[in-house]
Amino acid sequence: MAGRALIVAIAVAAFFIAPHALAEFHLFQICLVAGTALVVLGLIVVTGFAGQISLAQAAFVALGGYGSAILAARWGIPLWAGVPIVSIGAFVVGFVLGQMTLRVSGHYLALVTLAVTAIVQIALIYSDNVTGGAAGMPVPAFEIFGLTLSTGGQLYYVIVPATAMLFLAVHHLNHSHYGRALAAIRQSETAAELMGLNVLRYKAAAFGASGFLGAFGGGLLAPLSTYLDPAQFGITQSVYFLAVAVVGGMMSPLGALVGSIVFVLLPDFLQAFQTYLGLVFALLLLGFIVLRPEGLAGLRLPKGIVAALPRLGGERR
């Protein structure tokens, strides 16, 4: 217990020291890692924990980004309230969609979620008067307590704590009866059903949770990028999030964080090879799924570190 308290204290201290020690660009990247990790965490809940493939994550991210921006621009609801509201909406959408689609599984589910992403993207492009159509729309500034947060260094104080809280929440849920039920469903739906679990409802709830986390991540990433472009929310992007999850590791929340760090930081190390970036990402996905499907987070580390890591969830930065 004492060791755990110490690690939490170090994490909190690091959180407050980082803005003074790091350059603006690095804080921006930490925000980008955190937002991406939140989106991918949703994918880990539905695909890793519940075993249901989803290619709809880009659609939920779009819902979060566009939804909160439109609430702010049209009705003056500030983003700090709009992002959670839209995320709860995304949970409901995901839950209902899950009730409808999770009767099918495997490749049929992959196809349906793929189609959902495509439909949302087309709807964004054709709703010119609300979303700005193919040209996209600007994101209103993030205002809270009379302050306007616009740079990465300022949004850091919102994005990082929010991400950490949601990671802890997912970590605890995964160790509750809810997480064990999902594990049972992943291993054998028939057995889970026989044990009296309402399989469809659990799977739909996992899908709803992925929607909530995807929309929350999307809502936080939108003010960071300041502009929404419908081209960013297509099938390619859904596959990108899947790649982050696979490379990071599907079976623990830590995987979302590790994968996001790799995918956000890699472009900096490969600046000379910008043209090949997409190819590198694709090869990473291919290489991991064939050679190391458990991802980076599944690598064997010395026992002491392994014992400490998963318990911390999102606190690590």
């Binding site: 493939i53 099938i235 043209t275 190819l279 799924i289 064939v290 499907p293």
Partner: protein, 288 residues
């Protein structure tokens, strides 16, 4: 007006049918749903361009080189990806096929650039008037090839000993190997055949659509066609493709272009939820 819309839409339908045939071939032959097939079609067309640019070949020899290269690609996909993953979960197989498509797409984007390339027509793209309806020879070729491929595959699966061996290998791997079917050779043959088919489709389709790295997204329309037809039915794939092409054209002409873009995804969702066995398919029971 209506007649013209219908005739034009059949070309689009035949494009979807050709891609759907590839999906169904792989699914029927190996039990894998290949999510990267659309990208493989695009890659096939690019192979021709690469052979022209790299070796300086004229068009037709370049097509031959592309076909030979796609034989190698098919063997590589099976040997490097699907054989190692033969006992992996369905999830891993789906992600692997998606990843393979993404690798091909990103390779093309990095090597040939992100912008569109012109691609020559095999036959004249100039329309001919038949009974007052404009018909394009290049488009007729696609319809003809789709039907020809359908006929060949149908004969292979339904009328030949090897076709039966393929079906047996897919149905029950252990059982088929016990009665002397070399399952790995059968799967290898299917991957090579489907890979060649992808290149044929790519060469035919590229001049009609815009040949850019993202042309592979048309694969989803092929999926819709295959799902509509029943996913394990070859004639279903062609019928599904034509039906989809006609519905899209009607929606685009009489309702709105937004609906034209959306309708195939809507059909995909609706068919999976309401009638997953499609128009001509047989529902597989899940064994426990």
């Amino acid at each position: 007006m209506l007649a013209q819309v219908l005739v034009s839409s059949i070309t689009a339908g035949a494009v979807y049918a050709l891609i759907a045939l590839g999906f169904v071939l792989i699914y029927k032959g190996t039990g894998v749903v290949h999510f990267g097939y659309g990208d493989q079609v695009t890659f096939g067309a690019y192979l021709v361009l690469i052979a022209q640019a790299l070796i300086g070949l004229p068009f037709w020899p370049a097509v031959v080189v592309a076909l030979v290269a796609s034989v190698l690609l098919g063997a590589l996909i099976y040997g490097g990806l699907m054989w190692p993953l033969r006992n992996a979960s369905l999830l891993a197989q789906i992600i692997a096929s998606l990843a393979m498509g993404t690798v091909l797409r990103e390779f093309v984007r990095a090597y040939m650039g992100p912008s569109a390339w012109p691609f020559p027509f095999l036959l004249s793209p100039a329309p001919i008037s038949v009974f007052g309806i404009l018909v394009v020879p290049a488009n007729l070729a696609i319809v003809g090839v789709s039907l020809g491929v359908l006929a060949l595959l149908f004969l292979l699966f339904e009328r030949t000993f090897h076709g039966k061996a393929i079906m047996a290998a897919c149905d029950n791997r252990i059982g088929a190997s016990l009665i002397g079917v070399q399952v790995s050779m059968v799967f290898l043959a299917i991957w090579i055949l489907s890979s060649v088919l992808a290149t044929v489709a790519g060469v035919l389709v590229a001049p009609l659509l815009t040949l850019s790295p993202d042309m592979g997204l048309i694969g989803i329309k092929g999926f819709t066609a295959a799902v509509l037809g029943g996913f394990n039915s070859l004639p279903g794939a062609v019928i599904g493709g034509i039906v989809l092409g006609v519905l899209e054209a009607l929606a685009g002409t009489y309702v709105s272009s937004a609906l034209k873009d959306m309708i195939s995804y809507g059909i995909l969702i609706a068919v999976v939820l309401v009638r997953p066995q499609g128009l001509l398919g047989v529902l597989a029971m899940k064994k426990v």
